[in-house]
Amino acid sequence: MDSIRTSYSQVLLVDGGGFFPEDDLHQDVAWFLMDAMKVLGVDAVGMSERELRFGLGYLKAQLKRTQLPMVCANLYEKSSGKLVLAPYVVKQVGSVKVGVFGLMSNTVALGPLGDTLRVEEPTAAAKRTVAELRKRGATVVVLLAQLGKVEGEDLVTAVEGIDAVILGHNMPLLQKGRLIKNTVACYGGEQGQYIGRTLLTLDAKRKMASGDNETFLLGPEIADKKEMAALVKGFNDSFNEKLQKLQKEKAAKDAEKAAQGAPEHYLGGEVCARCHAAEAAQWKATRHAQAWQSLVDAKKDGDPACITCHVVGYNQAGGYKDQATTAAMANVQCESCHGMGSTHDAFSSSPRKVTELTCRICHTKEVSPGFDYALYLPYVSHAGTGQKLPLPGSPMKKQAPSGH
């Protein structure tokens, strides 16, 4: 943001919506992200059904608390017939009057909220809202579209007067945006790891003359804003503690179940090393052997979504539970790639192949966007084949590339 502002003084910052977490365990992240957006000075925020997952009351309470400008032009309360949120915001950005409105899809399930809320067909809502924004003097109109790729593209093709669209809702990441009729489309900015930059050139009347878009990975070369980094760290530290406590309780329950016995189970790398000493020694020099420490350093060692790829058999028979009881199962060990040790006899007669797909279970594009199988393989292969080329920087760890 700061670096952009040194080159351009007319900058609009928006979030397209879809930022609420995927599971109830991470509910605190919802309010924290809203706080963070407020601190960043986000000009408008879109919404999707995801923002309703903790209930409309929760969303409204957080919006009231943060005063975040969330917009949606097609979500109505059935009883009153009124819009749930403001349909748009009009912002004066330097010399430009910008209208930003939001839309969500009417094809998604609202769950129990479907009894009280209704989503209007987006195209009709868009036509009406664009006309209203133009009437109010907006010379540039931006749409935050939680519609998915096809529905979003169809809409801007059908509706005149939308200068830029931020497309969201299970979107494929495209580094370069494109022009759809007269609308510049942005296809990226997901998971807090990317940011889209849409650059509009304006004519004398402050209307869009041309434009383009590009999405950037927020890699280590892009420095964190100091205040924001501190805010994130503070939240992560306290949230991690909370998760650790919950995990402890869960581990105790799981231990009871495990005690009942499971036919197959994890053994831990120390058992493998009895016969595979050379492989074990080679493994110790890999980043897989420090996978747990990287979580501790990042204060994510209480987050189950992270733990699962940094230990062996998380919450499975014989696998990692917590540091107090199963510390020996921390890190990415033999069984993470080769399977449960108790099935050893089976896979020695019919070896389980470790392929790129094995790695991709954890090295997903979301958490490991810089992962390149061919490039990374020589760093972990027991065969010692392949040239160890320098690994590119990764947003996973800024000092040195981690296991990701």
Binding site: Y8, S9, Q10, L12, V14, D15, G16, G17, G18, F19, F20, P21, E22, V29, A30, L33, A36, G46, Q92, V93, G94, S95, V98, L144, I166, L167, G168, H169, N170, M171, G189, E190, Q191, G192, Q193, Y194, I195, G196, R197, T198, L200, L202, D203, M208, V232, F235, N236, S294, D297, A298, K300, D303, C306, C309, H310, E366, V367, M396, K397, H404
Partner: protein, 54 residues
Amino acid sequence: MKTVLSRILATTLLAAIAWMLLAGASAPRGNALEPDKLVILSTVDVKGKTDPCG
């Protein structure tokens, strides 16, 4: 000797000049960097991620 009318005119003229100067100084296009550009920075589908695992 100045008439009341000329005093009023002079005062009005001064006020008008002052207003134009102030308006000019605060006009966004005056000191804008790349005044013919609008940059839209955007995130979307953050899905509850504050930062990567580690």
